[in-house]
Every structure is written in structure tokens, then in C-alpha cells.
């Protein structure tokens, strides 16, 4: 699949979702795996737009590219917002608090990590590179 290159704005996220649904279908992922992958990419891309670009007062692109081998579908998401390694975000405080006082942070990253078979983060030449991997042979 050709790479998808979009402005780093909230309006771009729907197109990324559509792209992921399409590449997941081409790779023959099951419904649950496809949903998990889409959610993972959506959550990280949303963070890049909202926290990376908007809150930092910057702008830039989101680039998504999918590659498929015999046993794996790999999706790479790149943005040029400030370095952000989601692996360092603490897990959400899920069951330790009553719902009324429960903090809502960290949920997106948690969902992203849960949704994929493997995840990798690199910061290379000023670019955040998020790599999501799904096994095709379940």
C-alpha cells in the first residue's frame, strides 16, 4: 500500500482509520485484530496531533505506511512533533480508585499497547516513529 501523508490535524484521523481498516483487510486480519490495530494507530496518532502538534503550538504531518510479509503486517506511523515515547507513559490507574475520582489519563496509550502484537518506538532524525506489528498467522 502507498504511504498516506496527511496534515497533523484531528480531521486527518478518520482517513488514517479508513487506511488501517483497508490494509488490515488486505492482510486478512481477523475482526478483533483489525479493530485492535486501528485503535492502536488512532490513539497514538491522536496523541501526536493533540499533545505533539497542537499543545506544543507546532504543526507538521502524519505519515502512515503499511507493509505486509507472509506472516506479519507492519504499520509505521511517523510525526515530527517533539520526541514522545509512549512506552514511558504510566499505565492508567484502572481499578485503584472509585470512578468519581478516577483519573482519565494514560488510557489511550494503554489501549494502543493492548491492541497490537508488538509495538516499537524510535526517534530518528527529528521524527517519532511508531511501529505496530500484527501476526497474520494466528
Amino acid at each position: 500500500m502507498d504511504a498516506l501523508r496527511l496534515p497533523g490535524r484531528v480531521e486527518s484521523l478518520a482517513a488514517i482509520g479508513t487506511y488501517i481498516v483497508q490494509v488490515a483487510a488486505e492482510a486478512g486480519l481477523g475482526e478483533q485484530a483489525a479493530y485492535g490495530l486501528r485503535l492502536a494507530v488512532d490513539e497514538i496518532a491522536t496523541n501526536a496531533v493533540v499533545h505533539g502538534y497542537q499543545e506544543a503550538g507546532g504543526s507538521g504531518e502524519l505519515v502512515v505506511k503499511a507493509e505486509q510479509t507472509a506472516d506479519r503486517l507492519t504499520v509505521v506511523l511517523e510525526d515530527t512533533s517533539p520526541p514522545y515515547d509512549p512506552r514511558l507513559t504510566p499505565p492508567p490507574d484502572i481499578l485503584d480508585h472509585e470512578p468519581v475520582v478516577r483519573p482519565s489519563g494514560g488510557l489511550g496509550v494503554y489501549l494502543a499497547r493492548q491492541g497490537v502484537d508488538a509495538y516499537r518506538y524510535d526517534f530518528i532524525d527529528g521524527t517519532n516513529r511508531h511501529t505496530f506489528m500484527m501476526n497474520r498467522t494466528q
Binding site: L13, R38, L39, D42, T46, P92, L107
Partner: protein, 112 residues
């Protein structure tokens, strides 16, 4: 995202359909929070919700808090498998009551 609101014998039935994500959630959140009043009873029918991300979950959490503070009740009905799973692994089902059908949800609310 589609939001249909119907009052039925003191219970507010809200039917949501579509994707609950960063692009759609703001308007949904506004409509849902508008419904909250002291002692309200809300059945959120979600069988048409095909996708929910963390921003959607946050909206539900906010709604839950507002309703609890005003001594109201909310139940979720008809969750699809993927939405159910997402809510399960994030711990949301620890405090949201869920029912398979909207009829069951309304029946339970009518007893409150």
C-alpha cells in the same frame, strides 16, 4: 455520529450510532451532558456504535460522574463485542451496568 433522544415514562433513551472518536466526540458529549439533571435515568443504547477510542471512553466517564453527582442512573445497552472488550480491559465495566437489550436496561431503570 447519530444521537437520537427519546423520553419514555421518565426514562431517557439515547440511541448512539456511528464511531465515537476524536472527530465526533465533542458534539456527542455536549448532547449527552445536556440530558443530565437531578435524579435522571438514562439508557444509552449503543448497538450502533461500531468503534470507540479513549476519547469516547472519557466522555462516558464524564457522563457517569455528572450523573452520579446528581443522584441519577445510567445503564449501557447493546454493546457490540469490540466496544464491550475495550470497556472491559480498561476497567469501565467495573462501574457501568450493561444490558444486552435496551428493553432490559429500561426495565432496570424503572425500578430505581
Amino acid at each position: 455520529m447519530k444521537v437520537e433522544i427519546e423520553e419514555k415514562a421518565g426514562i431517557t433513551v439515547v440511541r448512539l450510532a456511528g464511531e465515537m472518536n476524536s472527530g465526533t466526540v465533542d458534539i456527542v458529549q455536549e448532547k449527552l451532558l445536556d440530558l443530565v439533571e437531578p435524579g435522571c435515568r438514562i439508557a444509552l443504547e449503543m448497538s450502533g456504535v461500531t468503534y470507540i477510542s479513549s476519547v469516547g471512553l472519557r466522555t462516558l466517564l464524564l457522563l457517569y460522574r455528572e450523573i452520579s453527582q446528581q443522584d441519577g442512573y445510567i445503564v449501557l445497552c447493546g454493546l457490540t463485542e469490540m466496544v464491550y472488550d475495550t470497556m472491559f480491559i480498561t476497567g469501565f465495566l467495573e462501574f457501568f451496568e450493561t444490558y444486552e437489550t435496551c428493553g432490559e436496561g429500561q426495565f432496570v431503570l424503572a425500578q430505581k
